[in-house]
């Protein structure tokens, strides 16, 4: 379904013409075996805690999602209406697979799950998020994260 040819022509054209910054290549960083890695999720689904304000058009900042946040306190305020929300309504793991990470950690397939996870709102030009992303590097490293799974919506 996310194949562009399956989308309505106007939306497909919008996606095809969306400017994508030339970012060259960034060398891959090596790490320990997966079974010893500590994994964090960084989402662009506009997720956040219900107690906070939602995302608005143009927002380039992020929200912090503690790993132990009850599912009922997680909200999605992405501004776009051009994607399915019913999957997230049924199961947060469709876009924020925190329970799956916990299961993989319990099974010894990953080392552990980070204490903190993060979400941006993907309708904003990602190059405008650079400063906010760079401000996350300290907290991620302080949480001993050495694997980040980036999940769009």
């Amino acid at each position: 379904m996310a194949r562009i040819e399956d989308l309505p022509p106007a939306f497909a054209e919008h996606l095809i013409n969306l400017p994508c910054a030339e970012m060259g290549e960034t060398p891959c960083v090596a790490g320990p075996p997966l079974a010893r890695r500590r994994v964090a999720i960084v989402s662009t689904a506009g997720l956040g805690r219900k107690s906070e304000g939602g995302f608005n058009p143009g927002d380039a900042d992020y929200r912090v999602i503690p790993a132990n946040l009850p599912a009922g306190d997680l909200t999605m305020s992405h501004i776009s209406v051009n994607y399915d929300r019913t999957g997230f309504q049924e199961d947060i793991n469709i876009a924020f697979p925190i329970d799956r990470l916990r299961e993989l950690a319990a099974a010894g397939e990953i080392g552990s799950v980070a204490d903190y996870h993060y979400s941006f709102m993907g309708a904003t030009d990602p190059t405008e998020m650079k400063a906010a992303v760079e401000s996350l590097i300290g907290p991620l490293k302080a949480d001993d994260v050495d694997a980040v799974v980036l999940i769009p919506v």
Binding site: A21, R37, I94, V133, P152, V153
Partner: protein, 245 residues
């Protein structure tokens, strides 16, 4: 998503990205990416299917062992058709809305429609232990009052403090759609196709008709942010294409 991968990896943090729009990932060349053939909104493929989701997540995590990027791998597993009715023959909401008693205002028709869906939305909330309705902080009836009033008169102010009118409009109209989506997907026979809910909402409900009226009203507003939200961030492209908007 790809840009974030570049920024974090450049700072020494290994990343892997799930990709939904392959074309964008091809252009932006993040260090590691797994393209998945799933609907926008469902990067892990299938809700409430942990086994399926784990396969996607493990395929993504496995790419972390690679240091020869940029690497873009295609995940081969399609999301399965999920139920009868998922074969493209559509879904019909089994809740029939009672006929109006005599002349009825659009606001009253909306309230009546919401009343008939409340048991289903409540069931969804009970089963899931959570709801996505409530970003505005208002009751669904208060949301309905605002939507009906705005559809009749664009000078109606949203009953929210501390946010702009445009932001309030977005939260209130998102709440209305979330309420209908949750109610629809809780009903028996629903095959889980998001497009069926969209078609039902925008073609058959009073709420959909009033939001379309709100969209037209907002075009007369002097508030450019409100106009932008109403034109671009209210009615999904799939529905706009069908309704020729």
């Amino acid at each position: 998503m790809s840009a974030i991968g570049h920024y974090l990896e450049a700072a020494g943090l290994p990343t892997v990205s799930i990709s939904l729009i392959r074309l964008h990932t091809e252009k932006m060349r993040p260090p590691r990416a797994l393209w998945v053939p799933y609907e926008l909104g469902r990067p892990l493929g299938v809700p409430n299917d942990p086994t399926f989701q784990v396969r996607v997540l493990k395929a993504a995590l496995a790419l972390l062992e690679h240091t020869d990027g940029p690497i873009l791998l295609d995940h081969a597993e399609d999301a399965p058709a999920r139920a009868a009715g998922d074969a493209g023959d559509g879904w019909v909401c089994p809740v029939s809305f009672p006929a109006p008693a005599g002349a009825e205002t659009p606001a009253a028709a909306l309230k009546r429609e919401i009343a008939s869906l409340k048991p289903w939305q409540a069931l969804a909330e009970e089963r899931r232990g959570r709801t996505t309705v409530g970003q505005s902080g208002l009751s669904i009836d208060a949301v309905a009052d605002y939507v009906a009033a705005f559809a009749a008169d664009e000078a109606t102010r949203p009953p929210l403090e501390g946010v702009t009118e445009a932001e309030a409009f977005k939260r209130l109209t998102d709440d209305l759609q979330a309420f209908y989506q949750e109610a629809a997907t809780a009903q028996p026979g629903h095959g889980g196709r998001h497009v069926d809910v969209l078609d039902w909402f925008w073609d058959q409900t009073q709420a959909g008709q009033l939001l379309l009226a709100c969209r037209e009203r907002a075009r007369d507003s002097g508030d450019t942010r409100l106009k932008f939200i109403a034109e671009r961030l209210l009615v999904p492209q799939l529905a706009r294409a069908r309704l020729d908007l």
